[in-house]
Amino acid sequence: MLATITDDFPDNPENMKYFYDKYKSLTSEESIYPKDKKVIASMCIHVPVEIIHALGAFPVRICSGAYSTDMAGSDLLPSKICPMVKSTLGAIHLQMLPGKAEPEIIINPTTCDQKKKISEFGEEVGAEFYTLEVPPTKDTEEARQYWHRSVKSMTKKLEKVTGNKLSRRKLRKAIKKVALAQAHFRRFMELRKGFPVIWGKDAILVVNSYFFDDIDIWTEKLAALNNELIERIKNRKEIIGRQAPRILLTGSPSIFPNMRIPILVEQLGGIIVYEEFCSTSRMLYDTVAVDEWFLYDMVPSVADRYLKPSTCPNFTPNDDRIRKILRAIEEYDVDGVVYQTFSGCQLYDLESRRVSNAIEDAGVPVLNIEIDYNPEDSGQLTTRIEAFLESIKDNKRKNFKK
């Protein structure tokens, strides 16, 4: 998969090399994490990484995109459930977490049903799970208070696990560190609004590597990549012509190496300009806002950032996700939306109708695809995506003539 990503496309930015190498290290035999820090694994975007950083630990998000561990997970879980959850549990069982991570504890938020239940497999897979209670809604006061208490309990548990106490200074530093990463990320996303200077598959890789990379190094490398992309814009170095359909990708998250859809779209002539995934934009867009820089306000502030702005379909209602996608369609000049759902992922499936209708009402065509991690059924997918892209190109040509 990595070879396809690097070799099949022309004009990969120089600074992508760091990220490609990082992905090569994922399958290493030795742990790629610093020896002096405890690794705290998590899933989803609802685990406040600022707190993990402040306690001197290394946060690693272990949501997995690997088919091999998906098959391993199928031994433990029913076959019809989300392949990402199966893949993650399989990876934990086989001790094949990204970069050979050996986490002290795995924080498992009670977001979707499938994810919620794998905590019960802790003994069988030989890992310690901590259940982080996430409310099923995000708008009500009850949900917010519940969430604040949940995060406080998690903080206490992590203090025990890491043996460190949360201090005001450390948390402030951590919040600023994450804010810096988010500032660079926003800049990166701004650069994709104009004519294409970076492939979507590269963009997904860059943001996806936030899962397991050292945040300071990641930020630094992203800053360098941004500067290179700015040079490309100044020199008008487009990687694909203006006629190429600009695609927005949303739905169940594309996580390396499950990158079939983005790669297919781009191999067949499209370009992905924005992805509304929890593995990319949703993870890094919003920033914590603190009113009084004391622990009594900082911890609730961090908690709030992981609840209210989240457009995860685990929450109901989730109209904010539709608004976000419509706004992205306008700002990124999107021609078509590809809505992917993993087979067994009920939440994204349930939202697909409302979201697709809203997008089509805005005049943008939507392609709904259901996939799993099996790399075999590319044939039918290729045809469908190709047809979709062709119809967009046709429309563009017609409109251009007008």
């Binding site: 500032a183 650069l191 920033t287 806002a289 009594y296």
Partner: protein, 356 residues
């Protein structure tokens, strides 16, 4: 020219308005509590608690004026003498409409005292409390009830409503008798004479005792809740009636809002609509004190905007947000894509034209 203006605006949007506000509050406090000693005279129809019981006050609070003017018979009010009531209202509006509820957030000395008490609380490391949504909805009507009473009671002293007995003269300025500003602000002039119970008759005993209780409650309340008194202030209720006509505006562009809730977190009073309302343009609610902490906390370009008439003064911007965080530098400055593209456009233009 436009570029220069944009640069200036970008610079301003990166500043901390809360620092600016701190200094304006300090200067205003000086003017409205000590100004009288320096022969400053601003009239007696001010839209803030510039209390005339304060020896150094340069003017008077409009609510006192309202209570005095309405302390007349109907025949007097509806006579040519009553035109002075309208004139009074006119002067009040002339002051109010310029700054809208920013009078509360930037100028009112009682508001400033509450903010200083909040700073004291922070220095001592204590946490603050917030109302839950249910209590918020129930308690916010108190300011309207107080406004209604301070209009009704003076009228009821001189006139009989539906044959009911007239109210006693001891309630002549009912709100001033219970207002915490009357007791607390003169303390800054070293004047403790307002801390007393008036034993003239039963009514005055009750009213002045209430006043002392309210003042005590003010200190406790302001310590645990930010801007505790402002939630119950009848001046705030009066402001809100005319707020939409004001020249200074706080506007929201719902299409830019991600409902992240940062503004609600920053709000001293706890107004959830700033975050959740994505349709209204004028986002000033009756409890808003226009301190603009919400604009400072908003990371979305153009979502919240302070405008004077239609001129934007201070807008939420993502560059400003990250700068205030201390993570703004050359590498995180937002990019003006058009500028970048156009920087080479002049050279390529001829080529493009021939290609088409």
């Amino acid at each position: 020219m436009k570029k220069k203006i944009n640069k200036i605006r970008q610079y301003i949007n990166g500043l901390r308005i809360s620092r600016f506000r701190f200094w304006i509050q300090l200067i205003s406090f000086f003017i409205f509590v000590y100004g009288g000693y320096f022969f400053i005279e601003i009239g007696s129809r001010l839209p803030i608690f510039s209390c005339p019981y304060v020896p150094g006050s340069p003017g008077g609070c409009y609510l006192l004026g309202v209570q005095h003017e309405l302390n007349s018979t109907w025949s007097s009010i509806f006579s040519p003498r009553g035109i002075s009531i309208l004139k009074s209202l006119g002067i009040f509006l002339a002051f109010f409409l310029v700054l809208n509820k920013a009078w509360c957030g930037f100028v009112c000395p009682l508001g400033t005292v509450q903010d200083w008490i909040t700073k004291l609380r922070m220095a001592m490391g204590f946490s603050f409390t917030r109302y839950d949504q249910m209590s918020f909805k129930r308690l916010k009507v108190i300011k309207y009830i107080l406004l209604f009473l301070l209009i009704l009671i003076p009228l009821a002293i001189n006139n009989s409503f539906f044959g009911a007995p007239k109210l006693p003269h001891g309630m002549h300025t009912p709100f001033c008798q219970i207002c915490p500003a009357r007791i607390i602000l003169p303390l800054f002039n070293g004047d403790t004479s307002q801390i007393y119970i008036d034993f003239t008759d039963t009514t005055t005993i009750i009213m002045t005792s209430l006043g002392l209780m309210v003042a005590a409650l003010f200190f406790v309340g302001s310590f645990v809740k930010k801007r505790f008194f402002c939630f119950f202030c009848p001046m705030s209720a009066l402001h809100y009636i005319f707020s939409r006509f004001s020249f200074l505006r706080l506007e929201k562009d719902g299409s830019k809002c991600t409902r992240c809730g940062n503004c609600y977190r920053a709000c001293d009073v706890g107004i959830i609509e700033i975050a959740d309302d994505i349709t209204s343009k004028n986002i000033v609610k009756d409890d808003c004190i226009m301190c603009f902490k919400c604009v400072e906390a908003c990371p979305e370009d153009g979502a919240l905007d302070i405008k004077f008439f239609n001129i934007p003064l201070y807008t939420a911007s993502h560059e400003g947000f990250f700068k205030r965080y201390g993570v703004g530098d050359e590498n995180t400055k937002p990019i003006n894509l058009d500028e970048l593209i156009n920087s080479k456009e002049e050279k390529n233009d001829k080529n493009n034209r021939s290609q088409r």
